[in-house]
């Protein structure tokens, strides 16, 4: 049996909005093995960030986790009190946000802000905290860390701030690092640096990493396991990088086709027709069917189950046969 750090079972997160109940995450189950990198891919609004926030229990009203279990290191996080959760956040599970420009408090120096986390979880302060903070800044490859320690966030570039956020997230050597679109707000050269940095630090500290992104290039190469989400559901799950060479779900295929590449230079870029379904409305059949080029009449009638195709891969599509995944039946 694999050594799983994080096991999510049937997680369902709903938002009670004025015009109805929106199910942002619908019975999502997956496991993350220790010291691996998992990539969660999907377009905006498919529930990938909500999944991450659910793991940290940071869903704010009107949102609510209605069902499921989140097992982290052998403990169910949904059974924890708020006080216990605060001990876990930042110490055992850290998160890096999408927007480095606003994720730091503008009125304190970056050194001060990293020290705060150290003080909160490790109980170290004063000179020792300062030494450790400068060490962390050096670890995330910020030039002149002694000088940067004294600076305010507005004096730094986006890439630099994201490095500070990483330093802050890694301050207490967490077991799980969640990166919520860590590179979206950065330009391409900096993106590569940040990704490499996350990867290096992961190797060095034996951290488990969960990368959430809509950019397939980001998780290619680094992810040991990839989950493709669509409209709050997992549509494809793959241990390894095979989805890039052999996508099973039409949605994954369409996503890959929409990446600009040299082979199709000059041609019109492929786009997925239609819109993400309105999750407030009752849905019938496969949620991707209206946009799917292979859709059969059956696809509009019943929703497919997430089925296991081989030992490494699962998919939710009528076009692919396979054994139903255990524990998934009857949940839809």
């Amino acid at each position: 049996m694999a050594d799983n750090l994080l096991e999510i079972k049937g997680l369902t997160t709903k938002f009670n909005l004025e015009d109805g109940v929106l199910t942002a995450v619908d019975h999502v189950s997956f496991e993350v093995e220790r010291k691996t990198t998992i990539g969660v891919v999907g377009e905006s609004g498919c529930g990938k960030s909500v999944t991450a926030f659910s793991v940290l229990r940071l869903i704010r009203p009107p949102g609510k986790i209605t069902e499921g279990e989140i097992w982290f290191d052998g403990e169910n996080l949904l059974k924890k009190t708020n006080r216990e959760m605060r001990q876990i956040r930042g110490k055992k599970i850290s998160i890096i946000f999408q927007e480095p420009m606003t994720s730091l408090n503008p009125v304190f120096t970056v050194g001060n802000q990293i020290e705060e986390v150290l003080k909160l979880h490790m109980g170290i302060s004063g000179e020792e905290a300062k030494k450790r903070t400068i060490e962390l800044l050096r670890q995330v490859k910020i030039p002149l860390p002694e000088q940067r320690y004294k600076e305010y966030p507005h004096q730094m570039s986006g890439g630099m701030r994201q490095r500070v956020m990483i330093a802050m997230a890694l301050a207490c050597s967490p077991q799980l690092l969640i990166c919520d679109e860590p590179t979206t707000a950065l330009d391409v050269t900096v993106q590569a640096q940040i990704l490499r940095l996350i990867n290096d630090l992961k190797e060095k500290n034996d951290t488990t990493v969960m990368i959430i992104t809509h950019d397939l290039a980001v998780i290619s190469e680094v992810a040991d396991k990839i989950i493709v989400m669509y409209a709050g559901r997992i549509v494809e799950e793959c241990n390894g990088q095979e989805i890039f060479t052999d996508p099973l779900h039409p949605y994954t295929e369409a996503l890959l086709k929409s990446i600009p590449s040299d082979a199709h230079r000059g041609e019109k870029l492929y786009t997925i027709e239609g819109m993400v379904p309105n999750l407030l409305k009752e849905q019938k059949g496969c949620l991707f069917a209206p946009r799917c080029e292979y859709a059969k009449p059956e696809c509009f009638e019943t929703e497919p189950e997430l089925v296991r195709v081989n030992e490494r891969r699962k998919v939710r599509c009528h076009l692919r046969g396979g054994d139903p995944v255990q524990g998934q039946e009857g949940m839809e």
Binding site: L56, L58, R86, Q87, I88, R89, G90, K91, S94, I95, F97, E99, T102, S103, L104, N105, P106, V107, F108, E116, V117, L120, H121, P143, L144, Q147, K150, E151, Y152, Q155, M165, M168, A169, V188, T189, Q191, A192, Q193, L216, A217, S220, E221, Q241, F244, T245, L256, I259, S261, D262, A263
Partner: protein, 322 residues
Amino acid sequence: MASSIRECVWRKEEGMKKKRVWFKRRYAALHDLGISTEDLQSRTLYQDAWKRLKKNKVAMVSLGAIIIIAIIAIFAPLIAPYSPYETDPFNNLQPPSAEHWCGTDNLGRDILSRIIYGARVSLLVGIVCELIAVPIGIIMGSIAGYYGGIADMVISRIIEVLGSFPFIIFAICVMFILGTGIMNVFIALGVIGWLGHARQIRAAVIQLKSQDFVEAAKASGASDFSIIFRHLLPNCLSTVIVIATIDIPSDIMFEATLSFMGLGIQPPQPSWGSMINEARAFLRQVPTYSIFPGIAIMILVLAFNTLGDGLRDALDPKLKNL
């Protein structure tokens, strides 16, 4: 497909290498020029604000006036030419003269000396009332803003109910219940002065709490208490400074009003408001008796008002239409 992605990654790495070389060169160039990066000192928000304030002449004059009045108030016994309590029945109701620059009152006391001592009361009222009102306002406002829901509803309703009362009538009621005296003036004005602060801070907190850095603090395990005091309040400190300064003159005016009505500072202690009240009977004979304390109130209130405006412009340009 994978090849195109690999190509993309490869390009990113190429770009990175170039950038790294560029960075090295840049730091080398700085070193060659003998510019240590240590010299690139940072300026904080308050240093910036102070710079802006210094450019505002009116505000600087006001600040000067307040400092002078404060010095006069602190060193009143050394500066005042006479004792404010010393009566001289044979020289009462004198117009200004070389001996008594502002004349004397109905008991023959030197008006200038009484004005100098009265500055103590006015400044003290302004400062102590804000010292009472600001903490209450901060606590109530941040609780309402941060927690929202029922807490917000209860606090907002309290603010609305108390705020719908005419301020001065409320203060008169409190003075009536507690009795006269300077301590009770502080309480009466402080107890109601927090309403406006709480409303401002609530609005600022609501705006701030959806910022990413608050979410980030929560994700790193910070408690509500530390989020409010470390992340929210320091970010609205400039708002607090501005609203406190803008409220000081109205506190001074209310003290003068209460004293004028005989509910505030009691004779023989000199207060500008009570001096005007006493001078009322002699308005025709010696108009200067009431004019000089009036001018004193006007100067102090005007100074605080213009300083408040200047601070607002320097610290928080967003509040321009307050």
